[in-house]
Amino acid sequence: MSAAATHGAREPEGYTRQEMMAIATGREIKDREIAIFGVGLSMLAGFFAQAHHAPNVRAMTEGGVFGSSPVGGLPWGIECNRISTNATSFTSALDALGCLVGSGRCDVGIIGAAQVDKFGNVNTTGIWDGEIGPTYRAPKTRLTGAGGANDIACGAKRYLIMVAHEPKRFTEKVTYISSPGYLEGGNARARFGFVGGGPSAIVTTLGILRPDPVSKEFALDGWYEFSSADEVVAATGWPLKVRPGAGIVPPPTAGELVSLRRVDETGALRKR
């Protein structure tokens, strides 16, 4: 995910782009919320929030690991021993993703994306050469599939998409919708009766995009001290609008960096 550097952006000093993305994501999580984090970046962002400003966030994993925080570094996986060491409850995927997420009870989820489009639809399934066409065919490059992200996208009250900001990832329309954002925009989600509210932000290595309240098209809401509106627009594969009032997202505070790095024990986000 270091490809953002290829757009000629400055590197920040004293922290990395990945750290900025994790912190910006974590800021979206409020204290006391019920939250579900995936593995990797999203888990770091979530546990950063817990360590920093949301000590009472009630986090669970897709596998139904409750009350836990990672021990010994970033977990290798959701059911990993690093997150099984200090749990208060182990249940199941049906419980976590069904009773607590699919039900609409979970306040916030964090998911990743290989591709995301202007309505926040996410593709994590594959990369095709062109459109798939009327007959389904295997992708040229097979990715990981939907995992729990589809369930979070349908059920969580809101969710955050974390993604490295590169033009090939930000596309007018994703080839395959693994996890629904606002579909064709507007009220399209209502057709399927999703209990979840949809994506509230796309947080990237260059800035933060938020949906228009009516059209649901994502527009630029903020960039970082090391990036710019022009740079974000250039790195986005659709004509990105800039929201009124958009501006610079505050850089990490010293306290935020300390909290994040305590969680990111093995320095996964510090690798440039």
């Binding site: 593995v39 990797g40 994993t61 897709e62 596998g63 139904g64 690991v65 021990v71 010994g72 977990p75 290798w76 996986g77 959701i78 059911e79 990993c80 021993n81 690093r82 099984s84 060491t85 182990f90 249940t91 199941s92 995927a93 049906l94 993703l97 069904g98 699919g102 639809n121 399934t125 798939i132 009327p134 007959t135 389904y136 065919r137 295997a138 992708p139 040229k140 490059t141 097979r142 990715l143 990981t144 599939g145 939907a146 995992g147 729990g148 589809n150 369930d151 996208a153 349908c154 059920g155 395959y176 919708i177 693994s178 996890s179 629904p180 579909l183 989600r189 399927f192 999703f194 209990v195």
Partner: protein, 331 residues
């Protein structure tokens, strides 16, 4: 009824595995509690044309796909979490040797639940409205597909929701931490979907890290989420999930996870992997020796070890297990 259900790994595959069967396993997230040793044995015995159901891909499916044993798969997630894309699965899907039908991490356990309850369909409020519903690798001409995830009308409100097809796999190999010789089993760590799968599958084979005295089971009946009533056979196989982890017992083998996944990225690498890690052992001792005793000790030094402490006094030694297994058992 047998007085125990212990059976060797090779006998278990010989007895329960069939070419073309619907086989479910990997009943945990990619990194944990993978009943992969059953998959290794299926590779040894050349079981073919498997239609696999893996809630999440694991190294087991990665191997079965890479080696050509699986021609169909249904998954909720098909990566290896922080170990990246699953190269064997990826190669099989991209070259068309394995058709992969995509679901999500909630829809697979819901489909197991529907199978367990013997429902004709399961209500779906997720997966609908996305290409998980509209596209089907098993019915590629359908666009949008409705044979994979149909629509159904709520009779109370008239609202349309989705409908999943229940799953009743022919055979499930399920990894558990402890089992008694009859097949009463305890899992440490998230169940993921092992509870639902144990009721949905037509036949269940347990792969147990350790065999415990039945007294352990009677002390902790609330932990026995898989009772013997739904179990056909028990395979005692220490480190059966390796290189995945087993909470309370051992950590993931990070180095082997990466090396294995690299190897499965090519046909040659897969052949080498099969030679070195699938065909190179013939019993538990040679299996453990292959992994290496230093490495085993390192993996066992898990911060989760305390989770297994209450049960250790009931763990039978390998010799005790062998003695039980030698007498009576499945006819």
């Amino acid at each position: 009824m047998p007085d125990h259900k212990l059976i060797s790994l090779s006998d278990a595959v010989r007895r329960f595995a069939r070419d073309g069967m619907i086989y479910a396993s990997g009943a945990a997230l990619p990194i944990g509690s993978d009943a992969i040793v059953f998959g290794r044995e299926m590779v040894r015995q050349g079981v073919r044309d498997l239609h696999t159901i893996f809630h999440c891909n694991t190294q087991q499916l990665n191997l079965l796909a890479a080696n050509g044993n699986a021609t169909r798969a249904e998954c909720g997630f098909s990566g290896l979490e922080v170990f990246g894309f699953a190269n064997g699965l990826r190669r099989a899907v991209e070259t068309g040797t394995m058709a992969l039908e995509d679901y999500s991490n909630l829809s697979i356990p819901l489909r197991y639940l529907g199978g367990a309850l013997n429902w004709p369909f399961v209500p779906a409020t997720v997966n609908i409205g996305s290409d998980l519903q509209d596209r089907s690798a098993f019915a590629p001409q359908e666009n949008p597909s409705r044979s994979k995830i149909a629509m159904v009308t709520d009779p109370f409100t008239g609202r349309q929701i989705g409908a999943f097809r229940p799953l009743q796999p022919d055979v499930a190999a399920i990894h558990v931490t402890f089992a008694d010789p009859m097949g009463n089993a305890i899992m440490l760590g998230t169940e993921w979907s092992r509870f639902e799968l144990s009721r949905a599958a037509k036949r269940v084979v347990l792969i147990a890290d350790a065999i415990v005295d039945p007294a352990c089971i009677r002390q902790y009946p609330n932990l026995v989420r898989i009772p013997e009533l739904v179990v056909e056979a028990v395979v005692y196989w220490p480190f059966g999930a390796w290189p995945a982890s087993s909470p309370g017992m051992y950590d993931v083998d990070e180095e082997h996870m990466r090396a294995m996944n690299t190897a499965l990225g090519t046909a040659e690498g897969t052949a080498d992997y099969v030679r070195d890690y699938v065909s190179s052992w013939h019993d538990i001792d040679s299996w453990l020796a292959m992994i290496g005793h230093d490495r085993l000790a390192k993996l066992e030094a898990s911060t989760t070890s305390f989770l297994a402490d209450p049960y250790r006094k009931w763990i039978l030694t390998a010799a005790e297990v062998a003695a039980i297994q030698a007498e009576g058992g499945l006819s």
